[in-house]
Symmetry: C2
Subunit: 229 residues, 2 copies
C-alpha cells in the first residue's frame, strides 16, 4: 500500500477551503508538476512516511497557502502546527524527525558531500530553465549550457548512484529535472539532438537505473502529462 494519500487529488484554487488537518497527520502541500515539490515526494516515498498530499494552484494561490508559507511555494510540509518549506530544508527535516530511515549519511563529511553534489549538479536545473525561457537569439547558448551540464553530471557519476550503491539525498534532488529531459524530444525546433547525448553513457545508464527505483516509480509521471502541463 502506498504511503501517499491524495497524491493525485484535485488541485485546490483560491476560494477552495483548506481541508482540515487531523492531529498527528503529516501533510505535504504539493503541485503535481513542480520538480522541487517532487524532491520531497521522492524523499517521503523512499522513507515510506504516511503523508496526506494537498495539491495547490501555484499560479493563482489559495490565501491559506500564503498564510502557511509566505513565499507561497511548494513543497511545504505541515504537521501538528509546524510548517517547514524549501525542498532541501524539508528533506533534511524529515531525516531529523525520522532518523531511523535517514537518507543522508550519518557521517558529517559524507553528509556534506551529498549537499555539495546537489550544488555541483545545480547547473542542470539552471540550464533546463534556460532552454525553456530561451529566445531564438539566446537558444544556441542555452543548448550549449544543457549539454555541458549533462556532461558534467555524467563525469560526476562514480558509482551506481550519486549516493553510492543506493539512491541518496543528491539523487532524489536531481531526479525531477532528469525526468523532464524527455520534454525536449517533443520540441524538435530546439534542435537539441538527443539529451543526454550518446557520449553521456554513465548518465544514460543511471537514468534507466533510477526509473527502476520504487520511490521514482511512486513519484514520476508520464512525459505526456508533463508536456500537457
Amino acid at each position: 500500500m502506498s504511503n501517499f494519500h491524495g497524491l493525485d487529488s484535485i488541485t485546490l484554487n483560491p476560494g477552495d477551503d483548506l481541508p482540515p488537518l487531523a492531529p498527528g497527520t503529516i501533510r505535504l502541500y504539493n503541485m503535481r508538476f513542480c520538480p522541487y515539490a517532487e524532491r520531497s515526494v521522492l524523499y517521503l516515498a523512499k522513507k515510506n512516511i504516511p503523508v496526506e498530499v494537498v495539491n495547490v494552484n501555484l499560479v493563482n494561490k489559495p490565501k491559506w497557502l500564503l498564510e502557511k508559507n509566505p513565499l507561497g511555494k511548494v513543497p511545504t510540509l505541515e504537521h501538528d502546527g509546524k510548517v517547514v518549506y524549501e525542498s532541501a530544508v524539508v528533506n533534511e527535516y524529515l531525516d531529523e524527525i525520522f532518523p531511523e530511515s535517514s537518507v543522508l549519511p550519518k557521517d558529517p563529511y559524507e553528509r556534506a558531500h551529498q549537499k555539495i553534489l546537489v550544488e555541483r549538479l545545480s547547473s542542470i536545473p539552471t540550464a533546463l530553465y534556460g532552454v525553456v525561457r530561451s529566445t531564438p537569439e539566446t537558444r544556441d547558448a542555452a543548448v550549449e549550457a544543457i549539454k555541458k551540464a549533462l556532461a558534467n553530471a555524467d563525469s560526476l557519476l562514480t558509482d551506481d548512484f550519486y549516493g553510492g550503491k543506493s539512491t541518496g539525498f543528491a539523487d532524489l534532488s536531481i531526479w525531477p529535472f532528469l525526468e523532464r529531459l524527455g520534454l525536449f524530444a517533443l520540441r524538435p525546433e530546439l534542435n537539441l539532438g538527443e539529451v543526454p547525448s550518446k557520449e553521456n553513457k554513465k548518465l544514460i545508464a543511471y537514468i534507466e537505473r533510477m526509473k527502476q527505483q520504487p520511490e521514482v516509480k511512486a513519484a514520476m509521471r508520464p512525459i505526456d502529462q508533463h508536456a500537457a502541463f
Copy 2:
C-alpha cells in the same frame, strides 16, 4: 588571542605555491572581500575554532584551488585530507564536527527555521547584486528591489537577532551583505537615499547590535576597504 592565523595574509595568485598544510590544522581558503567566505569566517569566529586562512585570487585562480574545489569558489575548508565547500554546507559541517559550540539549534524544527530564514532573507543578496549590475535602464527597478528586500528583513525581525536573543545561523549568513550596504552611500548617482531607510527601525537597531558582536568585530572590514576592492 584570535582563533585566526593569516586572516589578512597576502593574496595567493596562479604561480604561487600552495602552502603545506600541517596534520590536524583546519584551513579556510578565503577571499578577503567575498561575502560568502565571510559567512564562514563569522562562524569560525563565533565557534572560536583555530583556523589557518589562505587568501586566494578569485579572478585568476591558482590551479591548486580548482584541484581542491572544482567550482573554484570560497569558502573552501580543508583538514586532514577532507575538503568541504559552499558556505551553508561548510557552516553546518563545522557544527557537526564541533557540536559543543553548535550555532544551529538542536531542535529539528528550530534548525529548519534558521535555514528558512536564510532563504527568506536571500532577496537581500539578490537585490544587492542587482543594484551593482544595474544599468541606467534597470536602475529604478533595482533600487525598488533593495528597498523591498530591506523592508522584508525589517519585518522578519521579531527579537534581538534572527537567531533569538543571540546571533544564530541566519544572522551570520545575512550579515556580510548588510555590512556592504554602506557602499551605496559612496555612490550618490544611484539616488538610493538612506539604506536601510529610516522606516526600517528594527533593522537599523539590529545592524548596530550586530556591530557589537565579537564575531562581527573579528570579521568585518572598514567600508573604504570594500570600496577600494
